[in-house]
């Protein structure tokens, strides 16, 4: 049985998510999951099942995420997971793309008077354990011949707490998460994110190795959101454009022409539904982590290639 069949029979998508990272994936006060990664899952559910709410979110710690995926507990993992060689090859996972280009950075309090990560020799650093951050950190300090005192912490909330209490000088994690943490602080202005970005952290949805059809669906749902932004398709105008437009690529994307959806076992309106559910990439970004939200992230690397960013969806053709 393919994953697609399983999901369709179940009538529900099971999506592995973070145990709680504001902006990316966390339950709100009513227990409804919200966030950027969560939005992607909803788009996927809309595409596959025609119901953006037919998703169960399984909160996974950084320790449990890969085995949960490997053992079919979840259909897809959308939990700010870095795409690395070992994970892709040795753990037999398939990273379908990047929905957020990130990099590891450092946050310090301004009164520390530090303006570069290279001044951090001897500092105490809070890190979340079990992530690539830990390895990057070790490498960075080693390469620059600096010493440091790691304070490993289990969850992001805990790490922030330690950092705010002054139990560590530096908090390091992906810049996006740093920004989202800082946004939640009482005095965001007192904290500075250092300019150095010490690693590449392409974050993206992951599926199991071996089911190419499912991988394609997940992959192209992501591309559909990205392409929609590039082509100017939004949740507001998607219904209208579905009637047909004179841009053949939009037509192919929205299933007016080409019959693409049927090629991988869905109907042709899959992408239209996904876009209708959460908006295009830009809308999703803006509503969850963009600069109008408390998280306040700029598009940066995550702008369309046409805007000088890295987002580049292959052509729908």
């Amino acid at each position: 049985q393919t994953t697609l069949e399983t999901v369709q029979n179940r009538g529900e998508l099971i999506c592995g998510s973070n145990t709680g990272q504001a902006g990316f994936g966390a339950p709100d006060a009513n227990g409804v999951w919200q966030g950027f990664d969560v939005g992607f899952c909803r788009a996927l559910a809309a595409a596959v099942l025609n119901d953006p709410n037919a998703v169960t979110f399984v909160p996974l710690t950084s320790q449990t995420r890969f085995s949960a995926l490997a053992s079919s507990e979840v259909d897809v993992l959308a939990r700010n997971t870095t795409w690395t060689f070992v994970r892709d090859v040795d753990l037999n996972l398939t990273f379908v793309g990047t929905n957020y280009y990130d990099g590891q950075g450092f946050m310090v309090t301004r009164d520390l008077g530090v303006s570069s990560a290279l001044e951090l020799d001897g500092a105490t650093v809070c890190i979340e354990t079990g992530t690539t951050t830990e390895l990057n950190l070790a490498d960075y300090f080693r390469v620059n011949n600096m010493s440091y005192e790691p304070v490993p912490v289990d969850t992001a909330a805990e790490a922030q707490q330690q950092y705010l209490a002054g139990a560590c000088d530096v908090y390091t994690t992906d810049v996006s998460a740093l920004a989202s943490s800082r946004a939640a602080f009482a005095e965001p202005g007192d904290h500075a994110i250092l300019p150095e970005v010490i690693s590449k952290e392409p974050l993206g949805p992951v599926v199991r190795h071996g089911d190419d059809q499912w991988a394609d669906i997940v992959q192209w749902t992501l591309f559909a959101l990205i392409a929609a932004e590039e082509l100017g398709v939004t949740s507001a105008n998607v219904e209208e454009l579905k009637a047909g437009s004179n841009n053949p690529e939009i037509n192919r994307l929205l299933g007016v022409e080409g019959g693409f959806g049927e090629m991988f076992g869905l109907d042709n309106e899959w992408a239209a539904r996904a876009i209708a559910a959460v908006g295009n990439y830009g809308e999703l970004f803006a509503s969850t982590i963009g600069d109008q939200t408390p998280i306040g992230l700029a598009r940066g690397l995550n702008a369309q290639w046409t805007q000088g960013g890295l987002l580049y969806a292959p052509p729908f053709r």
Partner: protein, 432 residues
């Protein structure tokens, strides 16, 4: 004054002396103080030190507690209200207590877990108080299914069809037992297995088709907070009881092989930390099951916790068994009762009664240990406190959550331990 002396041996008291009060320094508050607080240098020193400790503790925590805020909507608001003075911000509790207790369980259905808990006491009553009519045990037997349905909801026919499996087992046993008890045991095991694998699903579906009854379904991922601790703790302890009994019997048996298997199982489980078993549940269990048979994490945790508790339970029950005189076994034998009947009618009722305090203690320990599920991503009270702190409104709050959670656990565990002491005393003065 009458001296009774060897030389004037005979003495008779004609008037009895009435009791009098002790000398002043031997009575009242003075004596109490002298004896209990200031008898000797060391004691006086200890008293002073204790008073100092109490004073410092009160001075440190008292104002903070007294000056607490209960109505703010966020930590920032709290700070604004407190305006720089030290004070607790218990508003987080007023804001989120329902999550700490029920997780994300739909609020309009809170009555369901509450009712399930209330019914639990009703179900326990006939077990604990032998004076109650034995018929009530029937309710105890169906309680798990009732509780399941109350908590999770969905079609009533699902728990019913599962329960029918057990009924099938019992029926099969009763019918075949006329021929041979041994075959009957097999029948009792096979019948429910057959029922569950072949008939239960169909039964569930047809009945739901004919008569769609049931409460609204609540998914496992909505469960959290104290509710999840209770579910895991209670199902762990009650499921572990039968397994524990079997392990204890195995360990007591004179069949060398069975005995060593039981010993290995018990010692293995007791030898590794619970957290490794929980990790096994969340990471490894899927390796040991046929491909594609992933199931609910709560269920997996309950299975592991049950195994864990079984080993401890087995040791508790073994203690109860060892306390029974050998004569009870012999009398049962001499009356012609076979092994299982003797166990059921004679040995277990007595051994379990002796073990009740131990069982309660195991339960308290297990209940406290349910907090470890936070490590595998379940939202127990501690997990939820992390989630609450991740919220922008409450980012930075600490003590108030800990105090609330700790108080919940304390009330529950302390109550249980007092109850077990009471039981212990009661059982001691019981006949014989």
């Amino acid at each position: 004054m009458s001296d009774t002396h060897a030389q004037t041996v005979a003495f008779v008291r004609n008037e009895m002396i009435a009791p009098s009060d002790p000398p002043a320094r031997e009575a009242g508050a003075v004596k109490w103080l002298r004896e209990n607080l200031f008898s000797g240098v060391l004691n006086t020193f200890l008293t002073v030190v204790s008073l100092l400790i109490v004073w410092y503790a009160l001075a440190a925590i008292g104002p903070w507690l007294l000056n607490s805020v209960w109505t703010a909507g966020s930590l920032a608001e709290c700070r604004a209200i407190l305006d720089g003075t030290s004070g607790a911000c218990f508003s987080v509790i007023t804001d989120r207590w329902h999550q700490l207790l029920f997780g994300f369980y739909p609020p309009q259905h809170y009555w369901r877990p509450v009712l399930a808990l209330a019914l639990l006491f009703a179900a326990l009553a006939p077990v604990l108080f032998t004076a109650l009519p034995r018929k009530l045990l029937l309710f105890t037997a169906i309680y798990p299914f009732v509780a399941y349905h109350l908590l999770w909801g969905g079609s009533v026919w699902f728990p019913v069809s599962v329960a029918l499996g057990f009924v099938a087992g019992i029926l099969a046993y009763l019918i075949v037992a006329r021929v041979s008890t041994l075959i009957a045991v097999f029948a009792a095991i096979l019948a429910p297995v057959f029922w569950w694998t072949f008939a239960a699903g169909a039964f569930d579906q047809t009945m739901s088709g004919i008569l769609p009854l049931g409460l609204e379904f609540v998914r496992s991922d909505r469960f959290g907070g104290f509710l999840i601790s209770l579910i895991i703790g209670i199902s762990g302890i009650s499921l572990s009881l039968p397994i524990g009994i079997l392990l204890a019997l195995g360990r007591q048996s004179d069949m060398v092989f069975l005995k060593s298997v039981c010993v290995v199982v018990i010692e293995f489980i007791r030898g590794v930390p619970l957290i490794t078993l929980l990790f096994t549940a969340s990471l490894l269990l899927n390796y040991f099951l046929p491909p594609g048979s992933a199931f609910d994490l709560i269920l997996r945790v309950i299975i592991m916790v049950t195994l864990f508790a079984s080993a401890y339970m087995a040791e508790v029950i073994r203690g109860g068994l060892a306390a029974l005189p050998k004569g009870q076994y012999e009398a049962a034998d001499a009356l012609g009762l076979n092994y299982w009947k003797a166990q059921r009618l004679i040995i277990m009722p007595q051994a379990l009664k002796i073990s009740i305090p131990g069982i309660v203690n195991t339960f308290i320990g297990l209940f406290k240990d349910t907090t470890l599920v936070v490590f595998i991503g379940l939202l127990d009270p501690i997990g939820l406190s992390n989630a609450i702190r991740a919220d922008t409104n409450w980012n930075g709050i600490y003590w108030e959550l800990f105090i609330f959670i700790a108080a919940l656990f304390f009330i529950f565990c302390f109550g249980m331990s007092r109850y077990s002491m009471y039981l212990e005393r009661k059982l001691k003065t019981d006949h014989r």
